[in-house]
C-alpha cells in the first residue's frame, strides 16, 4: 500500500499543476479573444455611430491595457465572477450555472455507459481473441469511431423517435410531465450518442490491456499452480488490466466534454454545450471564454480524480 502522506503530497501537486493548466487556458483564451483581429472592439453592431462605439468601448473597459483587464478578470474568476454576458447582460457564472447540471447529467451518464458497456465488451473480445465475435465487435468499434456523433444522433431520432415512436427526440422533460421515467426516457438517446465518442476507445484499451496481461509470466505461473481459469482471469488478470484503462479514461474526458456541444445541439438538450454554441453564434466573447474555462476546469478535476483512483488500484505507482 502507498502511504497516505505520499498520496496527499501527490494529490496536492496534481491540484497545483491542474490549477496552472486552467489558468493557462484562461490566459490563452482571454488574450486570443482580446488581441485577435475581430475581437470585442470590432463586434459592436454596424448600426452604431462611432461616438456610441467609443462610449461602449469605455463602458466595457476595452480602452485599458489587456494585461490589466486579464488580471481583473482572473481576480474575479477566482471569486466565481466570470464577467457579464454580452448578449443577455446576465452574469456569465449564472448562465453557466443554470446549464451545468444538465451537461453533467448527460456527460456523467455517457461516461458511466461507456465504462459499463466498454469494459465487459473489451474483456469478452480479449478472452475470445481472433474468434468471430472478436472480429465482429472490432468492426463495430471501428464504425463507432468513424460515425459523426451528430449524424448518429439524427439516425437515432429517425429510428426511435420518428419510426418506432418509443423515445422522445428532444429536450429534458415533456412539458407537464416531470416524472423520473420521463426524464430517463429523454436521457437515453443523447447519452448513448455522446457515449459513442469514447466507447470504442474504451473497448480497444480494455481488449489490448487484458491481452497484454494474459500473456504475462505470472499468469502462466498462476495457471501452472493449478488455479481455475476463471480465478486466474478475474483475480489476477483483470485487476492488472484495469489499471491502464482507468488512466486512459482521464485522457478521454476532454473528448467527451467536446462531444456535448454537438450532442446537445442535435437533441435540443439545454446544457452548457448548447450555451457555448449560442455564445459562438452570437459572438458573445465573455460567455464563450467563461464556458471554455469551466470545461477546462471540469476536465482537469476529472483527471485528478482518475489519478486518485489509479494510485488506489496500483500499489506499484511511483508517486513522483
Amino acid at each position: 500500500m502507498v502511504d497516505d502522506e505520499a498520496v496527499g503530497t501527490f494529490i496536492a501537486r496534481r491540484v497545483v499543476v491542474g490549477a496552472l493548466v486552467v489558468v493557462f487556458v484562461s490566459a490563452l483564451t482571454f488574450f486570443f479573444v482580446n488581441l485577435a483581429p475581430g475581437g470585442p472592439a470590432s463586434i459592436m453592431r454596424i448600426d452604431v455611430t462611432s461616438e456610441q462605439r467609443d462610449t461602449l468601448i469605455r463602458q466595457m473597459g476595452l480602452d485599458r491595457p489587456v494585461l490589466q483587464r486579464y488580471g481583473e478578470w482572473l481576480g474575479g474568476a477566482v471569486r466565481g465572477d466570470l464577467g457579464t454576458s454580452l448578449l443577455t447582460d446576465e452574469p456569465v457564472a449564472r448562465r453557466i450555472g443554470d446549464r451545468l447540471p444538465n451537461t453533467l447529467l448527460l456527460a456523467g451518464t455517457a461516461l458511466l455507459l461507456s465504462l459499463l458497456v466498454g469494459i465487459p465488451v473489451g474483456i469478452m473480445q480479449a478472452l475470445r481473441r481472433n474468434g468471430p465475435l472478436d472480429h465482429v465487435l472490432s468492426v463495430v468499434s471501428a464504425v463507432g469511431l468513424a460515425i459523426p456523433v451528430f449524424w448518429l444522433g439524427i439516425v437515432l431520432i429517425l429510428v426511435f423517435a420518428v419510426t418506432l415512436r418509443v423515445l422522445p427526440s428532444a429536450g429534458v422533460v415533456t412539458v407537464g410531465n416531470g416524472s423520473p421515467g420521463d426524464r430517463l426516457a429523454h436521457l437515453v438517446l443523447p447519452a448513448f450518442a455522446l457515449a459513442t465518442t469514447i466507447l470504442p476507445t474504451v473497448v480497444r484499451f480494455m481488449r489490448s490491456a487484458l491481452l497484454e496481461v494474459l500473456d504475462a509470466e505470472y499468469l502462466r505461473t498462476a495457471t501452472a499452480k493449478g488455479l481455475a481459469h476463471r480465478i486466474v482471469v478475474t483475480r489476477h488478470a483483470l485487476k492488472n488490466a484495469l489499471i491502464p484503462v482507468v488512466s486512459a479514461v482521464g485522457a478521454l474526458v476532454p473528448r467527451l466534454l467536446g462531444g456535448t456541444v454537438v450532442t446537445e445541439a442535435v437533441f435540443g438538450w439545454p446544457g452548457m454545450g448548447r450555451l457555448a454554441l449560442e455564445a459562438a453564434t452570437g459572438r458573445d466573447y465573455t460567455l464563450v471564454t467563461g464556458i471554455t474555462v469551466v470545461t477546462a476546469a471540469i476536465a482537469v478535476a476529472t483527471s485528478i480524480l482518475v489519478d486518485l483512483i489509479y494510485t488506489r488500484l496500483d500499489p506499484r505507482v511511483r508517486l513522483a
Binding site: I154, V261, A276, A299, V300
Partner: protein, 270 residues
Amino acid sequence: MNRLTVVSIAVLITIALFVVVGPLLWTIPPEATDPAHALAGAGAAHPLGTDELGRDVLSRLAHGGQVTLLVGVAAMLAALVLGVVIGGFAGFYGGWADSLLMRFTDAMLAVPSFFLILVVITVIGSGPLPLILVIGGLSWMPVARVVYGETLRWKQAEFVLAARSLGTAPLRILARHILPQTIPSLVVSATLGVAYAILTESAVSYLGLGVQPPTPSWGNMLQRAQQYVFTAPVLAIYPGLAITVLVLAFNFLGDGLRDRFDPRARTGRA
C-alpha cells in the same frame, strides 16, 4: 499489406474520383435551386433527389466532398507542421525547450479542444480557411508527442553521433538526419489526423459555424437535413454515410500502416 488496407485504399481512390471527376461529368451546379422540384425523390433528372431548395443532392455531395476533403487534408498538414516543429525542438534540444514545449502540449491535451475551436471561430468568423487554421492549430498535440518520442530515440543513434563529430550544425542534424527517421510514424499520424480533421470539420459545419451555405460541405448538408428528417429522411442519410465511410477508410488505412511500420507489431505477428 492486409486486405482491409487494400480495400481502404480502393475506397479512398473511389471517393477522390467521385469528388474530383464527378463534378466534371455531372454538371448541375450545386447552388442551382429549383423550388418547383424541392424535396423530390430519386429520378432520372436527380439520381439522389433534391433538397429543400430543389438543389441536386448528387451534385452537392460531389462538390461538398471536395470541400470536406480539402479542409481535412489541409488541416492535417497544418497540424503536421506544428507537431513536427514543436516535438522535434523539444526532443532535440531537451532542457528548457523540452519542459516548456511538452508541458504546453500536455496542457493542450488536458482541455476540451472543441470549446477552444468555438472560441476561435467566435473571434475570426467561419469559412474554409479559418476552419483549416483552427483545426490544425488545435490538433497537433498527438503529432508532437510522436515526433518527440522518435527524436529522443534517434538522437542517441550512432549516425547522429557521427554527424555531430563531423561538426554538422545542430539544426541540420535535426532536419536532415533525425526528422526523416520519423516519416513512417508521421504517415500513420497524418492518416489518422485527416480522419479527425474531417470529423471536426463536419461537426463544426453541422453546427453552422464552418463552411457556409450555399457552398456545400458534407457537414453543413446535414444541418438543414435534420429539419426535414420527418419528411425527407433520405437527405440526412447520404452525407452522414459519406463521412462515415471516408473516416472509416482513413482509420483502417492508418491502422494498417501502423501494423506495417511498428516493429513491435511486426514481431508480434511473425
